[in-house]
C-alpha cells in the first residue's frame, strides 16, 4: 500500500496499518460460528445461506446497503428473529431457539434505545439487576462501567439531558455491563455528526479491545467499517460477497460488486491475450496499448475479464511514459478538488472515461493540470486487480 485513496487515508489509515499485528492477538477460530443461516419473511429471502466464523476478541463488520440483510442477521444473533434454517453457535453453545433474555449477547441499538424514564446509572444497572446481583456489586460494576466511558459525572442525568455522543457512551456502557460473550453494534455511529463520529469510532474500538469483547457490528458506512473492524463481510441481497481485512477488501476485491462497493474504481473490460505463469496481458477495446499484469492469474487465453484500477493507482503525466504498456492518452474533462487530493475525470480518445487521483502535495503547484489538458495516464504492472466474476 504505497499510495492511499481518500477512504483509506482519512478512515482506515490509523488502523489498517496495524491490522496484521492486531490479528495476532485474536483467539481461536470459530468462537462465533454462523452456519448456513437463512431467513425468510413471507417468501422474501432476507438472509441467504450465510456462513461466517468469527474469532474471540475480533471486531467484525457486516457492511452493505440498506436491505441487504445485515440487520436481519444481527437480529438473529441477538435472538429477536429466529433463523429459518442453519445454526448459530457461540463458544460451543447453539443459540437457536434461545430467547434474547437468556443469551450471553448484548446489543448497542441504533440511536441507542436508552430507557428515557431512567437515569444514566439506572440504565447501566438494568441488565445487572435482571441477574439478581447484590446491590453493592451492581453499584461497583455501574461505577466501573461509567468511568470506562468517562460518564461518572453524568450518572444522575436522564438520557434526554445528554448530547448524542454522551448517549452513545451510556449505551456502550449499558451493553458492556453484563460482560457479554458477544457484543452487537447496530449502526453504532449512525446518529452522530461527522466530526464526532471519527473520534468516537476510535474510542469505541479502544474500549472494546481493552475489554477483549468479541463484537459484530452492522453498518452501511464503509469508512466506519474500515476504521473499526478487524475483518469485514460485504453483504448484498442476503449473501456474503467477500470477507476480509479492510486492506484486503480494498486492494484485493474478489468480484466486481465489492470493487465497486468499496471506494471508487475504474473497471476496464477486456480479454486475456497472453496467459503466462508470471504475467498476463489483456487486450481492452478502449485502450490503444496492451495491459500488462505482473503476476499469474488462473484463467485462459481469450477469457473475458475486468481490470479494476483504483484511481489513486493511476499516474497523470504531460509526457508519454516510456513503458510500452499500461498507458493511455486522454483529455482532462473535469476536476474535482478535495483539498488533500484532486480527482481528474479523463476522457479517452474513444470517449470512455477514467478517474485518476493526484495528491496535492504542494500548495499552489505551478504545473497543475487544468481542463482540456491533453495528458497521459499510466499505471504499474501490480496496480490493477483482474476480476473474473
Amino acid at each position: 500500500m504505497v499510495e492511499v485513496n481518500e477512504q483509506a487515508l482519512t478512515a482506515a489509515g490509523p488502523v489498517a496499518g496495524s491490522t496484521a499485528n492486531r490479528n495476532e492477538r485474536l483467539g481461536e477460530e470459530h468462537y462465533l460460528r454462523i452456519d448456513s443461516v437463512r431467513k425468510e419473511f413471507d417468501g422474501f429471502v432476507a438472509v441467504d445461506n450465510v456462513s461466517l466464523s468469527i474469532r474471540r476478541g475480533e471486531i467484525f463488520a457486516l457492511l452493505g446497503a440498506s436491505g441487504c440483510g445485515k440487520s436481519t442477521l444481527l437480529r438473529m444473533l441477538a435472538g429477536f428473529e429466529q433463523a429459518s434454517a442453519g445454526t448459530v453457535e457461540l463458544d460451543g453453545v447453539v443459540l437457536n431457539g434461545v430467547p434474547p433474555y437468556q443469551r450471553p449477547v448484548n446489543m448497542m441499538f441504533q440511536s441507542y434505545a436508552l430507557f428515557p424514564h431512567m437515569t444514566v446509572e439506572q440504565n447501566v444497572a438494568f441488565g445487572l439487576k435482571q441477574d439478581g446481583l447484590p446491590k453493592d456489586a451492581i453499584r461497583d460494576k455501574v461505577a466501573r462501567m461509567l468511568s470506562l466511558v468517562h460518564m461518572e459525572s453524568m450518572a444522575r442525568r436522564k438520557p434526554h439531558q445528554l448530547s448524542g455522543g454522551q448517549q452513545q457512551r451510556v449505551a456502550l456502557a449499558r451493553s458492556l455491563a453484563k460482560s457479554p460473550k458477544l457484543l452487537l453494534l447496530d449502526e453504532p455511529m449512525g446518529a452522530l455528526d461527522k466530526k464526532l463520529r471519527g473520534e468516537m469510532q476510535l474510542e469505541v474500538v479502544n474500549i472494546i479491545e481493552r475489554l477483549g469483547v468479541t463484537c459484530v457490528m452492522v453498518t452501511h458506512d464503509q469508512e466506519e467499517a474500515m476504521t473499526m473492524a478487524h475483518r469485514i463481510a460485504i453483504m448484498d441481497a442476503g449473501r456474503i460477497r467477500q470477507v476480509g481485512t479492510p486492506d484486503e477488501i480494498y486492494e484485493q476485491p474478489a468480484n466486481r460488486f465489492t470493487a465497486e462497493f468499496i471506494g471508487s474504481v475504474n473497471l476496464v473490460e477486456g480479454k486475456i491475450d497472453e496467459d503466462q505463469k508470471d504475467y498476463i496481458t489483456i487486450r481492452a477495446p478502449i485502450l490503444a496499448h496492451a495491459i500488462y499484469v505482473g503476476h499469474g492469474v488462473t484463467g485462459y487465453e481469450g477469457q473475458d475479464v475486468v481490470l479494476a484500477l483504483r484511481p489513486e493507482k493511476l499516474v497523470v503525466s504531460k509526457e508519454e511514459p516510456a513503458q510500452p504498456y499500461n498507458k493511455t492518452r486522454g483529455v482532462i474533462e473535469d476536476i474535482a478538488y478535495f483539498g488533500s487530493h484532486s480527482v481528474y475525470h479523463v476522457r479517452l480518445p474513444g470517449g470512455e472515461r477514467l478517474m485518476a487521483n493526484s495528491a496535492n502535495a504542494q500548495r499552489w503547484a505551478a504545473d497543475r493540470f487544468t481542463w482540456e489538458d491533453s495528458i497521459w495516464l499510466s499505471w504499474d504492472d501490480q496496480a490493477g486487480v483482474v476480476l473474473t466474476s
Binding site: Y101, N106, F109, F115, H117, Q130
Partner: protein, 302 residues
C-alpha cells in the same frame, strides 16, 4: 411583505386565543355562575321556582345567601351515599376499562398500519349509532327473556332466567361498554409512539417478558393510562342514562339523584347545590391530572 405580515399577526394571535375563551365563557363559566347562584337561593312556588339573591327594599340592598341547600346535602345521608356510590362505580368501571382496554390498545399499536386502522375503526364504529339506542339494546340482551338468558337456558346451564337487568352488574356492563373507546384511544395514541426498541433493549439485557412490561412498558405508557382513566372516570361520575335504563332501585348514582331533585321534586336550589358539589368533587382528579400532564410535558421539553 414581512412588516405588514407581523403587524397583522398580533390581531390574528389575539383572535385565536379569544375564540376558545369566549366559547368557554359562554357555555361553561356563565352557566356555572347561574347554577352557583341558584344553589344559594331558596325554593319558591314561583316562576322561576327559586327566590332572588338580591332584594331591593326602599333604599336598602340586601343579599340573601341560603347555605341551607348545602347543609341539607350533608344532613340527608341519601346525598352522601349517592356521591360515594357514584365514585365507587366510576372507579371500579375505570379499572375494568383499563384492564380490558390496555391489552387491546397494546395489540392494536403493534399491528401493521393497514390492520391497525381497521382495528381502530372497529373500536370507534359503535359510536356511530346513538348512545341511547346502544344502551337500550343492552336491555334486550340482559332482560329475563333476553338473548343471554335464552341462550343459557337453551344450553341447559340454567332453569330459571338469571336476574341481570336492573342490577349493579348491568350498570357496570353498560358503563364499561359505552366508555371503553375513551380508554382505548388515548392509550393507543400513547403506545403507538412507544419505541419498540426500548422493549427489545430490555429483553436483550436479560429481562423476562413480565419484567419488561413492569419496568419499561408500564412506566412509559403512564401518561396514556392517566389520560384514558380521566376520560372514563370524570363523565361516569355524573352518568345518568345508563343507571336509569339498566340500573335498579339499588343503584344509587348522583346523576339520577340530580334528575329526581330537578324534575320530580322541582327543587332547583338543591339540584343546583348537588351539581356544584359534584363539580367540586371532580375538580380534585382533574387538577391532579393537569398537574401531572404539565410535569410530564416539562420533563419532555427540558
Amino acid at each position: 411583505m414581512r412588516p405588514a405580515f407581523s403587524k397583522w399577526l398580533p390581531g390574528a394571535r389575539w383572535a385565536v386565543i379569544v375564540i376558545p375563551f369566549a366559547w368557554l365563557l359562554l357555555f361553561f363559566a356563565i352557566p356555572f355562575a347561574i347554577t352557583l347562584k341558584i344553589s344559594f337561593a331558596s325554593a319558591a312556588i314561583a316562576m322561576p321556582p327559586y327566590t332572588d339573591l338580591l332584594s331591593w327594599d326602599g333604599d336598602k340592598l340586601s343579599v340573601h345567601l341560603n347555605i341551607g341547600n348545602y347543609l341539607f346535602l350533608l344532613r340527608d345521608s341519601l346525598y352522601v351515599n349517592a356521591y360515594l356510590s357514584s365514585l365507587k362505580i366510576a372507579l371500579v368501571s375505570t379499572l375494568i376499562c383499563l384492564v380490558i382496554g390496555y391489552p387491546m390498545a397494546y395489540a392494536i399499536s403493534r399491528m401493521e398500519p393497514a390492520t391497525r386502522n381497521i382495528a381502530l375503526m372497529l373500536v370507534v364504529l359503535p359510536s356511530w349509532t346513538s348512545f341511547l339506542i346502544r344502551i337500550y339494546a343492552w336491555i334486550g340482551i340482559l332482560k329475563g327473556n333476553g338473548l343471554v338468558n335464552n341462550f343459557l337456558q337453551w344450553l341447559g346451564l340454567i332453569d330459571q332466567p338469571l336476574e341481570m337487568l336492573h342490577t349493579p352488574f348491568a350498570v357496570y356492563i353498560g358503563i364499561v361498554y359505552a366508555y371503553l373507546p375513551f380508554m382505548i384511544l388515548p392509550l393507543y395514541s400513547n403506545m403507538v409512539k412507544l419505541d419498540r426498541r426500548l422493549e427489545e433493549a430490555a429483553y436483550d439485557l436479560g429481562a423476562k417478558p413480565w419484567r419488561v412490561f413492569v419496568s419499561i412498558t408500564l412506566p412509559l405508557t403512564k401518561a396514556g393510562i392517566i389520560a384514558g382513566s380521566m376520560l372514563v372516570l370524570i363523565p361516569v361520575v355524573g352518568e345518568f342514562v345508563i343507571p336509569e335504563l339498566l340500573g335498579g332501585p339499588s343503584t344509587l348514582m348522583i346523576g339520577k339523584v340530580l334528575w329526581d331533585e330537578f324534575f320530580n321534586n322541582r327543587d332547583w336550589p338543591v339540584a343546583a347545590a348537588v351539581s356544584t358539589v359534584m363539580l367540586l368533587l371532580l375538580v380534585v382528579p382533574i387538577t391532579l391530572f393537569h398537574h401531572f400532564q404539565a410535569k410530564e410535558l416539562e420533563r419532555q421539553l427540558s
